[in-house]
Amino acid sequence: MSVGKVTFTKVEREKLAEVLWLLNWISVVTGAILLGMGLFLKMEIQKWQEVMSEQGVLYVPHMLITTGLAACGINFLGGKICLDCADTNKFLRWKLVMMPYVICTFFFTACILAGALMCYSIRSQLEESLFLGLRHSMRYYKDTDTPGRCYLKRTLDLLQIQFQCCGNTGYQDWFQIQWISSRYLDLRSVAVVDRLRNNVEGKFLMDSVPFSCCSPLSPRPCIQQQLNRPLAHFNFDQQSQHLNLWRRGCRQALLDHYTVIMQSISLVVLLIWLFELLVLTGVRYLQTAMENVIRVGDPESESEGWILENSLAETARSNFNIIKNLGKCYQVDDDPNIDVPAMMAEQEIKSEQVQVQRTS
């Protein structure tokens, strides 16, 4: 009992082949779109690579890029095959390639689905990566003279200006680290020494933030120092405090930015997956219909096409048996022409036993 059996006349087969040829070419274009989206995502992630702790996030764009390239290749080949399938003679050329081609397309379609789901699932990993990366960057903000870290200050300043955010979770994160380098601290001054002695690690901590946290929307010039003491500034009321700096944390800002990008990409990838599924189904029908035509022998006759020859359970069982027997190719079987010393030994033992019984 086949799954999804449909009967095709010769005209219908030719029509199916033409339609599939066109769909395969459209799939080449969608494959290129997939490639483009993968490259775009890679570029976006690499732009702010310095504030992410590990590069594990890059496997998503890499997956999209390879799937896009594979899509272009497979569907290009599929276009050629489908064009030839309209004619029974030309189909014979591709007969042996068809089954592997269908299996490849099936796996590659599964990869597309995996790519789409990955885009959704990566959010938590990204958040962790951003949290650690931003904490690391803020800690080394002051090290503009250390090779390898000298651009972290600029990157972080530009990040805060562009994404309109401040700190990791909020602006108070800057109060917990020393972001002013010792090169610019007068270590002979009493005030500085007091601050250094104030905490266990000997860091110069202040209740102030860098200039890049300032919001242009504030009606008053930006207040960066003594943020914990609003009375130190004239007329610094609640509303002024609210508008003075950016309130959002950079982790949240970057996460939102990447979530929007990934969600739109995964939506497009899902649509492409549905389209590829349609193409796969059509190719499977075409393959089975053409094979049945050749089996019948008459190119003009009707033939049947299906998705699976037997029901789902039987196909699964037979495939499982094939895989099981793949490992058994070196084991003995019942061919009488093969010399089987083990059986002869058994017969000898049996005859001895019979002889013993007879004698006893």
Partner: protein, 361 residues
């Protein structure tokens, strides 16, 4: 003496018509491109409208938009002419229109050339406009509670951050203006009173700049206040510190940006001019060749195509005479008899002159 004569047989005429049809559609796309260029330039200028005092520079995108639209229409007419040119029954109705078409197309080319020239020539005016606009922006920076000026601060801060500039000519422009509003000054504090008393107008001037002047590429945290006082900051020298703030003035930054925009559109506009000129010349050849063929007994035979029937000077003289007669015709009615009397007098003097030599000879 015909200018640039070329022979056309039937096949060449057909090829010319087809090629010109394609070229005209290309010219239509170029017209659309010029229009989009004009729109883009205008949007960019309007975005920074608040720091420009006048809108003289807007003439460049305005002309571009107008020429773009006119060019789309003109070249579309050229495609219709090409389509009808090989059909002897439909071509004659375009005859009257073609002269007007040539005039309009030539005018469009001249306007495009003028745009290229203007975009260089107006640089001085743009700088003047920016100078006054930015000065006002700095002056009204503090007035975030005055309706109509409350967004100056935000606009200016964003401008300085985006274009990486500070002040009008440089950051010292901020030292001459009170950019901290009186609402946030504690008038009882001694420092504030000193500063207000130190200048004639009673303004709170300080040697400090807003945060938007800060340069993120500086290795040290930004120093905004007490910039001229070396002792106010550790390890700081006012004269040698160049990375702390943006060194460029916003007037220079904006002028460079807009000049860069207009210069990069220069080659595009010049190639559009070339395409339009080739359309004009090809259409002239097609018109003369087809008209010549239609005048022959055998319309499929060879004909000549040319740019001008007579030489350049003679055509110019003819056109001058035509224009003068048209002007004179327009003036005949109001002046009436005196003109005729003058003409008679002229005729008399001519006959006298003719008569006078005879006694001598």
């Amino acid at each position: 003496m015909v200018l640039l004569k070329m022979k056309f047989n039937q096949q060449r005429r057909v090829r010319l018509a087809q090629g010109l049809w394609l070229l005209s559609w290309l010219a239509v796309m170029c017209g659309a491109f010029i229009f989009c260029l004009g729109v883009y330039l205008k949007t960019e200028l309007l975005r920074r409208d608040e720091v420009m005092e006048n809108t003289e520079i807007h003439v460049v995108p305005n002309i571009l938009m107008m020429v773009g639209l006119a060019s789309i229409g003109t070249n579309w007419v050229a495609t219709r002419v090409c389509q009808d040119s090989l059909d002897a029954s439909r071509f004659p109705r375009w005859k009257v229109l073609l002269l007007a078409w040539f005039v309009v197309a030539a005018l469009l080319c001249c306007l495009l050339l003028a745009v290229v020239v203007l975009s260089y020539a107006l640089q001085g005016r743009l700088e003047e406009s920016l100078k006054v606009g930015l000065r006002n922006g700095i002056r009204f920076y503090k007035d975030t509670d005055v309706p109509g000026r409350c967004f100056q601060k935000e606009t200016f801060d964003r401008l300085q951050m985006e274009f990486r500039c500070c002040g009008n000519n440089n950051f010292k422009d901020w030292f001459e203006v009170q950019w901290v509003s009186g609402r946030f000054l504690d008038y009882t504090a001694q420092e504030v009173k000193d500063r207000i008393r130190s200048n004639v107008d009673g303004r709170y001037l300080l040697d400090g700049v807003p945060f938007s002047c800060c340069n993120p590429a500086s290795p040290r945290p930004c120093l905004q206040y007490h910039l001229t006082d070396n002792r106010a900051h550790f390890n700081y020298d006012y004269l040698s510190e160049d990375l702390n703030l943006y060194s460029r003035g916003c007037r220079q930054a904006l002028t460079d940006y807009y000049m860069g925009l207009m210069n990069s559109t220069g080659p595009g506009v010049l190639s559009v001019i070339l395409i339009q000129v080739s359309v004009i010349l090809s259409l002239r050849y097609l018109q003369t060749a087809v008209e010549g063929a239609m005048a022959l007994e055998n319309p499929e035979g060879d004909s000549e195509g040319y740019i001008l029937e007579k030489g350049v000077k003679e055509t110019f003289e003819e056109v001058k005479v035509k224009v003068l007669t048209m002007i004179k015709l327009a003036q005949v009615d109001p002046e009436g008899v005196p003109d005729e009397a003058e003409a008679e007098k002229a005729a008399d003097t001519a006959t006298e002159k003719a008569a006078s030599p005879t006694p001598a000879s």
